[in-house]
Structures are given as C-alpha cells and as structure tokens.
C-alpha cells in the first residue's frame, strides 16, 4: 500500500468490444430517457420552495412530534393544511404552505403559522423558515434553467473548438440524455427540485463532460496514431485504454460523495444522491452512448479529416502523437 499498488480495477490491455453493445446501449438509454420524460410530466417533479414559492418551516418539537397536535394547532387558526411531514429525526417536522395571492400575504401566512404553533404546540421551536414570494420563485426558476442551458451551450462550443464537431454533438446529445435521466431520478424519488438540485445537475454535467472528454481525447490521439484502423476498433481501443482511469475517477468521486449522502443531513443528502446517480449514469454513458454516437457521426467523415496532416506514418504502428 505504501510503495506498490495493491489492486487494479481492470487488468491492463483489455480488449473488450464495447461497440458491439452500441445499439443495446442506445436503446436502453432511449428507454430510460423516455420514461424519465414521461415521469417529468406525470407524476412530475416535486418542486421545492425555491421554484414553487411559498413557506417552508422546519420545526423542532419536544420529544417525538405529535402530528395530530400540530394539525389541530394549525386548524385552530384556520390555516389550510398544506402538508406536514416528518423530516429526518422524529422530533423534526416540516410544514409547507403554498404561495398566497400577494407577497405580503405569503409573509403574513408564515407569521400566522408561527403564532399558531407557539399557541398550540408548547415547546416547539422553529429552526428554519424559508419564505419565497411568487416573483422571486419565478426568477429563480428562470435563472436555474438559464444556467443549465448556457452551460450546455458553452460545453458544446468548447468541445467543438478543441475537437471536431462530431465530438461536440456526441457529447452534448449524451449530456442531454444524462440530464433527462437525472430528472427522471428526481421524479421517481420525489426529492425536492430546488436550486441545490440545479447545482447537483450542473455538477453531474461538469463531471460527465469531464469523463467524455477523456475518452474523446484518447480517440483523437489514436486517430492520429493509427491511420488505417477502422473507427469502430479504434473507439473500442480508446475506451479500453482509458478504462482504468474512467472507473478509477468515478470510484473516487463516488466515494467522496457517499458520506455526504449518508451523513450530510436532510438538506444536503438529496444533492448527494443525485450526484451518486449522476456519476453512475455519466460513467456508463461515456462508454455506451457518447462513443457510439461518435461512431455513427464520424464513420466516414472523421477519418479523412484526420488523415490530412502530412506526417508520414506506417499503418497501425504507434508513433509519437503530435500534439496541438
């Protein structure tokens, strides 16, 4: 452990024919993404307070929460029951209210709940209050979507700039598929979709791109190295060569995020679960989605473009790759 490495994730020099599974990979991905889109509309996302607006209060009660008592306290003050749920610990309760007709109304509703609790549930303390007005939540939602959209666009432009367009399209199509799955995951788990989740999705996006770039980078290098190898074999070779890195990095990021999901507390664990899911999806999509798309798009085009530099090279023999 101190000098010599103990394990390899996969042995060196693997020759797994990943591209054989290209249709399988695309079909599975298409099914999952379609299912995710369906779930996006039905049952839909559980919008968090950032995007739905309204009031969320985290209440700490003396001993395990007595839900009947809380309901009664709210009912006594004519507060329409919007949802009282337990939150992690048995003595933690989350109370949610929708937006009211005006900003002042939403503020007043929060104050109303507070007085009702003070009266009806002795010993309860309010640990957290979030009040988001309708105008602000609409803005936050728009900004969240804007951040996602612009990030995708910038990734597209960047990869286009550094690679060929086939790589850029392949990466962005894969990323969109990844995002739809992450949204499906949110719809399935009923986790609140809020700004923190947008951050999680963007992080998954960044991570997943990172993964694709590594594989693509190797494809680019091998395109110069092996002038006559069929693209299909070449992509397989590139994936195999980078497999230890792909899995190794995924495992470290996965391991780093795991404690967050387990011990991070209620407010951040959702973020971590989306991350964990995204790492698995992102890693597999690098191999089974991004690479096949590149194969389809680049079959006849990529070869010619890369043959262009007049470096004399004998076929299939490794030569020092000229770097840009």
């Amino acid at each position: 452990m101190f000098i010599k490495p103990r394990f390899r994730i996969v042995p060196d020099g693997t020759r797994i024919k990943f591209m054989r599974g290209r249709y399988m990979g695309l079909i599975v991905s298409a099914i999952l993404s379609t299912a995710s889109i369906v779930m996006f509309f039905y049952p839909g996302l559980n919008l968090g307070i950032d995007f739905s607006g309204g009031v969320v209060m985290e209440v700490h009660t003396q001993g395990p929460a007595n839900f009947a008592q809380i309901h009664a306290a709210l009912a006594a003050d004519h507060i329409p029951d919007q949802g009282v749920q337990s939150f992690g610990d048995p003595s933690e309760v989350l109370i949610r209210l929708g937006t009211q007709s005006s900003e002042q109304g939403t503020q007043a509703a929060a104050a109303h709940v507070k007085t009702a609790l003070e009266k009806g549930v002795p010993g309860a303390t309010i640990e957290r209050t979030d009040v988001v007005g309708a105008s602000v939540s609409a803005e936050l939602f728009r900004n969240g979507l804007l951040a996602l959209g612009i990030s995708l666009l910038m990734i597209l432009v960047y990869i286009w700039f550094r690679f060929e367009w086939q790589f850029a399209v392949g990466a962005v199509v894969t990323l969109v598929l990844d995002i739809t799955k992450a949204i499906g995951f949110l719809a399935l788990t009923r986790l609140d979709f809020d700004l923190v989740m947008v951050a999680a999705i963007l992080t998954v996006l960044g991570y997943s791109t990172n993964d694709k770039v590594v594989v693509y980078d190797r494809v680019r290098e091998n395109l110069r190295k092996y002038k006559s190898m069929p693209l299909r074999e070449l992509i397989d070779l590139s994936i195999n060569e980078t497999l230890n890195r792909t899995l190794g990095t995924s495992m470290t990021v996965f391991l780093a995020s795991l404690p967050l999901a387990l011990f991070g507390g209620e407010s951040i664990s959702g973020f971590a679960w989306v991350m964990l899911f995204g790492i698995v999806v992102g890693t597999s999509s690098s191999i089974f989605i991004a690479a096949p798309i590149l194969l389809f798009l680049g079959e006849h085009r990529l070869r010619r473009e890369s043959v262009a530099p007049p470096t004399p090279a004998t076929a299939s023999k490794p030569v020092a790759a000229p770097r840009r």
Partner: protein, 536 residues
C-alpha cells in the same frame, strides 16, 4: 510542443521554480491554517472563510422597494404644484390627473387657446434631476388643450436608484439601533435590497422595524367632519379619514395639509410619563420644525392636533397652550417595546417608499451547528476514502497524489479566506467533490505513466511522456467543468453561489497541485532513488 528540449525540461525543475512552487504551497497552507483554529489575538492577520448564514445561523431577507410609490409621490406633488400655479395664472382645467402606471400627469385645459400659456406656466415647476442635471419631466402638448408631463426614463432610473440608496441608509440606521452584530445591507438589481443578519434566527422584530415607512406628520383635526367620519361616505375635500392606530374601526377626519413633518425631528426617545407611569415618546424638533410647531399650536389652542404615522393616527390630543420649546411628547397605548421601536423609527427617518419582503431564509443557530457537524463528518469520511483509494490503487504515486490533495485543501481554504468567500453547506459538498475531482488529474497522469512504461519506455522517459501527454486531457476536462460552474455562479443565488465559488477555486488549485506539485515530488523522488522500474 513535443520537440526534444521541451521534453527534457518536463521533469526538470530549476532551483528557482522549485522554490516558487514550494513557496506557493507554503503560503497556501499558512493562509489556510487559521480556519482550523480560532484567532489567538486580535492583532494577528487572522483571515478565515466566512461561514454562510445556513451554517452559522441567521437571516437573509430580500426586500423590494415599491417603485410605484416613489413615482406616485413625485407625480402627486407635481399635480399639487400644477394646481396652485394654474390657479395663480387664471388658467382653468377640466382634468388634472396623476397617472402613476404611465409615469405621467395628464392635464386637460378648458380653453385650448391657453395651451401655450399653460406650458409656459408649467415649465418652471420642473426641477432638474439631481444626478443628471436634465429636466426630469417631458412636457408634451397638443392643440386640443391636452398636456402631459411624463417622467423621463433617466430621471425614473435616477429616482429609483436614489430611493434604493436612501432606503439602504435608513434600514442600516434602524438595524444598528437593535444591536445586531455585522448586518450586511446591499442592493441587488434595480429595486431590491438584501439584508443579511448573522446570528438572528428569528427576524420578526427586524422585519417589523424595516416594514414600516415611518412617515410621521402632524396635522390638524377637522372636528366638524370627525363627527360624521364613521358614518361612511367620502371625506370633505381637503380632509382624509384616517383610522386610529389602536382601533382601526374608529376614524378621524384629518386635514390633508401637513403642518409639521417628521423629517424635522432631530431626536426621539422612549420614556415614561412621571405622572401616569405610561410609556411615551419624547421628541425634539429642529429650528424649522420648532417654529412651525409653535406657530400652529399658538393659532389652534383648544383644537385637536393629530400625530399621524403611516396613515394611522397615533393620538390626537387637544392643544392646551402654545408649544414653543420645540419639544413634545407622543402618548398613546404604548408599552416599553413599542415606545422604543417608534423612537428608533423616528430617529432613523422615514423610508422613501414602502418595502416588501419577497424572500426570507432564516436558520436557527442549532440547525446551523448541526449542518456544520454533518458537513465536517462527511468531509473527513470522504477525504479518508479518497486517500485510501489512491494508496491502494497507485501505491507510492498514490501517496504523492495524496500529499498534493492535502496541500490542495489548504490552498482552497487559503484562497477562499483571502477572497473572504462564503462557505455554505452546498459549498462543503463542493469541497468534497473537488477532492474527488482533484485526484482525477493524478489518476490520468499515473495511468499514462504506467502505459508508457508498458510500451517499453525507461522510467524517465515514461515520466516525461506520462506528464506531457496527460496535460492536454487534464486541461480539456477541467475547462468544461470550470465553465459549467462559472455559469452556476452567475445565475445562482445564496448558498448555491457558495457552491460554485468553492468548485471553481478548487478546480484552479487542483490543476496547480496535480500539475506542479506532484510533478515536483515525482522528480525529486526520481533523482534521489533512480529506480529501474516505476512502481505504478
């Protein structure tokens, strides 16, 4: 780039370069260390990362300044002066209407031939804007006798900016009186104000203090009309029916004309009336206020004088004698708290427009502490996982990476302390993710070295190739992640912004540690041991 001299220098570090790299690392560690301890002495330059409100507990309030009210006030006062000016010039009109939603005052003359005369009479009423020096109103007229005076766009913007700045100043004065430590009050966008109150888990009192415009006026009571004020029906011209503060159902007829304005107060203090023991607010006028107050009270002995705060009558006592000292007392149904709050509001001055709380986030200190604990546990556990992973899979080269990882952590903390960046709970998640991503660069390098060695290259050449080939991959893969998080910083808000800052800083520092520090370590190790085979 792959010419031979460049390759030779890949694993070669001049003394200067070595010192520089180690110097940066040392500096980073020094700057990062204060975060692990509390400050030993006040005089030491002890900069630490700011903890976000979600971690230290506190309140975040987003306030919206009611710009319509700002515009309306300007238009109302303009309409008032138009009325007086036209009356003086014997010009009669059909309608004179401030239209706040269109930012203009509409005037229709009875006699269209007097349009030019009217425009000439109106021109002196338009004040040049304070900031731009341009007239703030645009006068347009047509031959039918319709004249509009529209607030110009720059004047509107200047007025909005002025209202926000003034509001910030007044909010600051009000909050300072409550003893909240380190409140942060900043403007956001055109018409919003962010108020951050560290340590205040329940901002109700602050919200009450900043939710009041606190415009106080002293106006005479129209006693004849008061008799019918509660019967319903419109007030007589020149009067307002205003409710009493402590009993909204009881209305009093108060003259529209403001005799003395609260802006002329110089001081206000809560106290008790020695005779009754009641809580009261004692106030002092400046010289203008004192003179007006004396004049009005002298002329209206035995009449009632209303003290109006935000269109509610606090009290309407009968004037017993002329009050000439410039001092007065407001009594109503006060308790210690409300008397104190009113005196704070009066001292701080009136807001130029009403404020609405459009977003509130408050976290109690216990929850913040729990979040820190949860974040710290996750951080330590994740860190250990990554360290063991690297050691198991890459042995010695894994330890090089681990050392770089520790330095990276300190560099991140150091830079964030220097920038006075805010660490939030998502930011702590960001640190963890950065740790995972930081070793990615090392994994790329190690895998590449291993590959080159398998191709039959001798150790030094394998190292050279490994580092130089991994470089473009590392750069491309981090650049995209960097771009995504810059976007998040631009469009995110609050804790999410903190997350984006942490990750962007982390990407930058991890590039440095993986690319410079590990390479230096490997190079020193190679020079001292000269191994025949690299243990990757």
């Amino acid at each position: 780039m792959s010419r031979s001299p460049a390759r030779k220098t890949m694993m070669y570090f001049s003394r200067m370069k070595t010192t520089l790299i180690l110097g940066v690392c040392l500096l980073g560690v020094l700057l990062g260390v204060p975060n692990l301890f509390s400050a030993p002495a006040a005089w030491m330059p002890w900069r630490t990362v700011h903890l976000g409100l979600d971690l230290r507990g506190g309140s975040y309030l987003l306030l919206e300044v009611d710009m319509k009210a700002v515009v309306k006030e300007r238009l109302d006062s303009l309409a008032d002066s138009i009325r007086q000016s036209l009356r003086g010039g014997q010009i009669f009109y059909q309608t004179l209407e401030p239209q706040a939603d269109q930012n203009r005052v509409l005037l229709k003359l009875r006699d269209a031939t007097k349009t030019d005369a009217a425009v000439a009479a109106l021109r002196p009423l338009i004040s040049p804007d304070v900031t731009t020096g341009q007239p703030d109103m645009v006068i347009a007229s047509d031959p039918s006798g319709t004249i509009t005076l529209t607030l110009s766009a720059p004047a509107l913007a200047a007025r909005a900016a002025g209202a926000v700045d003034q509001s910030i100043e007044i909010i600051r004065r009000r909050i300072d009186q409550t003893g909240v430590v380190d409140p942060e009050i900043t403007r956001q966008g055109e018409s919003r104000i962010v108020v951050q109150l560290p340590g205040i888990g329940d901002p109700d009192r602050i919200k009450q203090l900043i939710g009041k415009t606190a415009h106080m006026t002293f106006r005479l009571v129209d006693e004849a009309a008061t008799a019918t004020a509660n019967a319903g029906g419109p007030p007589p011209p020149g009067d307002d029916y205003l409710p009493m503060q402590d009993n909204a159902k009881e209305k009093i007829a108060v003259r529209k004309r403001i005799d003395v304005d609260g802006a002329d107060l110089t001081d206000a203090r809560a106290g008790t009336n020695p005779d009754t023991g009641e809580w009261v607010v004692n106030f002092t006028f400046n010289s203008i206020g004192a003179r007006r107050f004396a004049d009005v009270s002298r002329a209206n002995v035995n009449h009632r004088f209303a003290i109006v705060l935000d269109d509610k009558v606090i009290s309407a006592p009968v004037i017993r004698e002329a009050i000439t000292g410039g001092r007065g007392q407001i009594s109503g149904t006060f308790n210690a708290q409300s008397a104190n709050d009113l005196s704070v509001l009066l001292r701080a001055g009136a807001l130029p427009a009403p404020l609405t709380v459009v977003e509130e986030r408050s976290v109690g200190p216990e929850l913040g502490a729990a979040s820190i604990r949860a974040g710290a546990i996750s951080l330590v556990a994740g860190f250990l996982f990554v360290i063991f992973f690297m050691a198991f899979f890459y042995g010695l080269f894994g330890w090089f990476a681990n050392l770089a990882l520790v330095v990276n952590l300190f560099l991140m903390l150091g830079i964030m302390s220097m920038l006075q960046a805010t660490l939030t709970l998502p930011g702590m998640a960001g640190i963890l993710l950065t740790l995972g991503m930081a070793v990615d660069a090392n994994i790329l390098i190690n895998e590449r070295i291993r590959e080159e060695q398998r191709l039959g290259r001798p150790p030094l050449a394998a190292l050279e190739h490994g580092f130089s080939r991994a470089y473009s991959t590392i750069f491309d893969s981090n650049a995209t992640a960097f771009l995504a998080h810059v976007m998040l910083f631009v469009f995110g808000s609050g804790p999410v912004k903190g997350f984006a800052v942490t990750i962007t800083v982390g990407i930058a520092t991890s590039l440095f540690t993986a690319w410079m520090l590990t390479r230096l370590l490997v190079s020193r190790w190679y020079i001292t041991t000269r191994p025949k085979l690299l243990p990757v």
